[in-house]
Structure formats: C-alpha cells, structure tokens
Subunit: 389 residues, 2 copies
Amino acid sequence: MQLSRRMNYLKASEIRDLLKLTEQPEMISFSGGMPAPELFPSEVIRQAMNSVLAEKSEIALQYACTEGYTPLREKIAHRMEAKFQVRLTKEQVLVTNGSQQCLDFTGRLFLDEGSVVLCESPTYLAAINAFRAYMPRFVEMPTDSDGVKPDCLEKLMKTIDGIRLIYVIPDFQNPTGNSWSLERRKAFMDVISRFDIPVLEDNPYGELRYEGRHLPSLMSMDKKGQVVFAGTFSKILCPGFRVGWIAAEADIIRKYALLKQGADLHTAIATQMCIHEILETFDLESHILKLQQVYRSRRDIMLDAISRFLPGYVQPSRPQGGLFLWLTLPDGMNARELLEKSLRNKVAFVLGGSFFPNGGHENTMRLNYSYSPEAVIVEGIRRLGEVMV
Amino acid sequence: MQLSRRMNYLKASEIRDLLKLTEQPEMISFSGGMPAPELFPSEVIRQAMNSVLAEKSEIALQYACTEGYTPLREKIAHRMEAKFQVRLTKEQVLVTNGSQQCLDFTGRLFLDEGSVVLCESPTYLAAINAFRAYMPRFVEMPTDSDGVKPDCLEKLMKTIDGIRLIYVIPDFQNPTGNSWSLERRKAFMDVISRFDIPVLEDNPYGELRYEGRHLPSLMSMDKKGQVVFAGTFSKILCPGFRVGWIAAEADIIRKYALLKQGADLHTAIATQMCIHEILETFDLESHILKLQQVYRSRRDIMLDAISRFLPGYVQPSRPQGGLFLWLTLPDGMNARELLEKSLRNKVAFVLGGSFFPNGGHENTMRLNYSYSPEAVIVEGIRRLGEVMV
C-alpha cells in the first residue's frame, strides 16, 4: 500500500523510544518531561470529576461544542489576563488535546509543502515532528541564552523566501530551560511586527518560574493580532487529561475550530468540565506555588550534583524556571556514545541533537529535573558522572 | 497572514451551524447524530471513574503511552473478536479521540494532494471534511440500498488513476441507515483484494442492529491485511469521553502511532482507564441490548409518523440498525427550501446534499431518531409534515 509522501519525513521520536527503555527497573530517567506524580492534587481532581459526573452527566457524557466547554473557555480567558497580561474573550480561546494539538493545527493552518518555519536553535522536538507532517523547511534562528538574536532575525526575515510561521518558546524553553530577556522580547516584537507572518508562542512552562521577575508574554506585546498562544494544564495540574488551549484573534480561532472539527470533533467534555470545576473550587495558584518550591529545589539539587559529579568541561544551563537543564559537552564529544554507556549504568537522558531540526550539535544533552525526587536526582547524576570520566 | 492552501477546501459543516440553531428553545432536532442522553449509564461511569482516580491516580493523571492504555487495547482486541469476528492482538489496536480521529489520521497516512478517495454515494459528511485537509479528489462509487455495486467498483478500480483509499461504512451507514448485504460484502472484498489499496471500514453503528441477522465485518473477510477498522465507544457507551480505536495490521498501527504522537501525544488516559474499568465491572452487552430496544422503537415510531404525516411522495429508507433515516423527495424538489420552512416551524434536519462530496442530490434529507423521545419524534414529524404540503 502506498503511503503519503509526508510519511517519509516522520520518524519515531528518540525520546519515545527511550521512554520505553526507561521502563526497566532501577533505571533513573531524566529523559521525559513529566511532572512529579506525587504532587498531582489527586483528591481534588477525584472530587471534582465525581461532582461533574453526579450532577451534569447528560452534558459531560454527550457530544459537545468543537471550541470547548464555554465556562472553561471563559475561565481560561480570565486566567490569561491574570497570568499573561492578555485581555481575551471566550471567542479568542479554543480548547485542544494538550498544547501538542495546537502545534499540529498550527502547521495545518499555515504551512504548505516547502513553507519555511523559523524556530529557535535548538527547539522543541515534538514541535518539529508535528510540523513535519506538513513538509515544511526549518530555518533555525541564531539563539543564545537570552533568546533569539534580533539582528539575525531581521536579516532572515528579509532574505529568506516563503517564511510562513515563526515558532518560539520564550519562557523556560524546552530543551534548554533558557528564557528570553525583556530586551530581546521587545526587539523580537519590533522586528516581526513589520512583517505579516504569524508567531506561535508556545508557553507550557510560563507559570513555573522559580526566581527572577515575571516577564511579559509576546502576546501581551502584540498590537497586530499576529501572535497565537499555546497553553496547557499539563504542567500546572496534570497531563493525563490532555487539556490545553489556543488563544488568538477570534477570526483565527474560527479557522482552528474548522480544523478541530475535522480532526476529532471536540476534546473530551467530561475532563474539560472537571478542570472547570477544579478552577471553581480549588486554589490552583497555591498549588502552583508548591510546584515552584519543589521544582526549584530539584533544579538546585541537580545543578549542585552536576558540579560535584560531572567533569568540569560540562557546561550546564541555569534555568530560572521550567522542567529542563541543558548540558553542553566540549566540541567533538558525542553524547550518543555517552548515552549508550549511561543507559547501561541505569540513567537516561535525551540527546540534544534531536532538538535541532537540521541536525548537528551532537555534544549536547537534555536533563529533566521535575520528575525524580531529590535523592534520585543525586544518584542519577552520580551514575552519569561514572560514565563521563 | 497567508493560510495553507488546504484551508480553501475546508468550510464549516452545515450540521454544526445547524446544531447552533437547534439550541433555540422548543426546537425539535433530528439533525445531530447524538445518542439518547437519558440512557447513558451515568452512575456506572461515575463509580468507575471514581475508582480509577482513587486507586490509580498517579497513572491516570500522568503522560501515557501513545498507542493507548494497554489493558484497554487488550479488551478492545478481545471485543473485536466477539463482535466483529476478527482475531487481533493489542499491537493491532491504537486508541484514538473518537473514530473521527481515525478518519483524520487515515487521510494523513495515505493521501497526497490529488489522490483519489473512493467513497459511497452518499457518504459520511465528517469523513469528507477530515479527508479534505489532505486535498484529495473524491470519486463516488455507485451505491444502492444493498451497498456498493461491485461491477461498478471493479470498473472504477481499473480506470481511475491515483486511487489511494477506499472509505466505506457497511453497517447502518451514516447518512442513509442502509447496510450492505452479505453478497455485496463478499463481492466487494473479492474485487478489492485484487488491488493493493487500503480500505477504511468505519463501523460506529455495527453493534446497534434492531432486526435481521448479524453480517460479517469486511475486516473479518480480509485475507491480505488491507482493511483498517475504525471503532468507537461513542454510540454504545458515551461520546463525551472521545474514545475510539483503530484496528489494523501491526505495521500499519505503528504508522498511525507516529501520527498520533505528532498530533496530540496520546488520548486522555483517565478516560481510557475509566472505560477499561467499566468493561471489567459492567455488563456492557446488556446495556447495548437496552439501547437496541429503545432505538428500534424510536425508528418504528418515526417510520410510522412519516407514513401518517408526510406526503406520499416522500421515500424513507428502512434501516435495520444505527441512528439515521434517509428521506428522498421527488426529483427537482429542493430540501433547502424545506429546511428553511421547517426551522421556522421548530424542527431541524440535515440536508442530504451535504453527504455527496461532489454535490447534487438536493432532494434528500437525513433524520436522526436516536436522540428524541418517542412523543417528540411524533410531534417533530408532524411539524415537518405541516411545511411539506
């Protein structure tokens, strides 16, 4: 049977294959991007779902509106103002199956074969995979630990033909953990506002800041309706419900709704109603403070263990939030050889090279610090150190 | 901002726009394809979800495997054997967000721009919309109330270039309610087995038979691994959880898993585990018998009301199962004018023309009989009759 040409561009994620390996007993995994399961507010979620299914089952179990559960869309709009300084109405919000679905739909909405996607270097692996289904070409924007370099961006915008989407993660980026400075945010918006190209601001980690002051979202600086924002409850509540959202101008949301209708009609309504109930009855903001506290401490423990157990030539990022650390090895070293050894020594990480759509950078690695308890983090870094000597 | 070319092919479903109209008070809606909400086993579902969230929350709220919850995949494989006479392992099953997502992924897996999809005439509107995102050309196979005509199919297979997918709904089709005869099923499989083209057997209604004997699924007659089967819990349990499945050869399932990973990582794990718990603790088969009883009676009531209240020139289908009736008006009559009048008289249906990808057939209409109680069905058909004189 003949498959579509796009299947030539899609391959299994190395993270995913690794996740299977990491199911071995005694394996310490720094590979996934999973929240700490012991911090899920399980009892709150159970009670909220119970109340939805006891009191509103005829709605919660039936087909529902493609755009999402209206009261939840209103709550999301309200939270977006409090958290990201963007004023929205419910017509500017569409509920998706996690923010991954926003990545897929964004590719579907804006990309034709051969279209150019500008992205950070490195960028989120699963975004590369989502966009690849639409067969674009990726151009990496020169990026340092403060974000995309605006002069380079301007040059790219003026010289590259066929740019149709700019994809960025300004807050505590996956994979590096780096965040854009305020100056870089302003300069970025200044450059892109002179072009008519949509920007996807992927923001799963923005509420998980452990130090420093909150910086404005790109969407809050957007005067043209050019920014599409992808948000999610996966990192601040739980990923297992797969509830995220897209925020954008209402006429763009209507296009996303057309895509959502064809893709899966709507996101499960029972889980949407449960999250709405949680937002009504639970102090999510205090819960997020608790997450920040635990993850801050895990980050510190991991950075400390790195300085104790890893060779001095390892350069770690020092993220102010999010779930990930990024390690850079000396030029010429290959993290793949290290990964093979470290898996045998029962510790897993993700190859940094996977996060560069055009390859290279084999001397980099991504470590997750949110999932493992502190003692496990120390032991995992110690094991990693054993195979790095 | 420039949108992708595929957006030119996508437009809002008339059903969806109608569903908004039907939210008016006192409107009787025969338009959606909704199950009867009063028949949802709400208490069973509530208890199952409660037990999952009380006992297995660290799994139910976390990220999960792309292919689906393994014990649920095993149960689905087992039920597929009991219900559709197909022997499967869990590696041949992938869980999706309702069977709509299978339609989307099937387009994504097999179609390039300009590829030909063969479909019944008429065929399911939302499948047309799902496939349109991949910009194929639709060729309608000559179809009567016994199914696709095999001699016509063979001719099409031999003369049309670029056929990449055959999409069919052999059991109680949406929109007509018609089912393929055993002879037609055999003849269809005989023809297509001589070609290397995948067949998508969409089967949301197969378990809702109200009379006549069960007929084998196309997949059970497939000797080559050519048939992909789309199933769902939406019609036999509840649609609000958005849990469906794809059954196919293991190597094809691996391709679907790649697509699922890029599209939304996985289907909500809490709802999958809840359905697994229900299959463990609840007699779903007795529940389906109850659905059959109620829907059979609603079908009979609607057919009876049609013969009493509608003009003699209206030709209804007489489905042996499923959720829909199909009405054919005399040639030259336009159901759109009738719809405008009937909406003013507070009764809604769907234009049959929407179900023909290449247009025409304006003299047809689809009525749903599963959603409304019997007295409402009678009153709705009476109202329809009032505007048909």
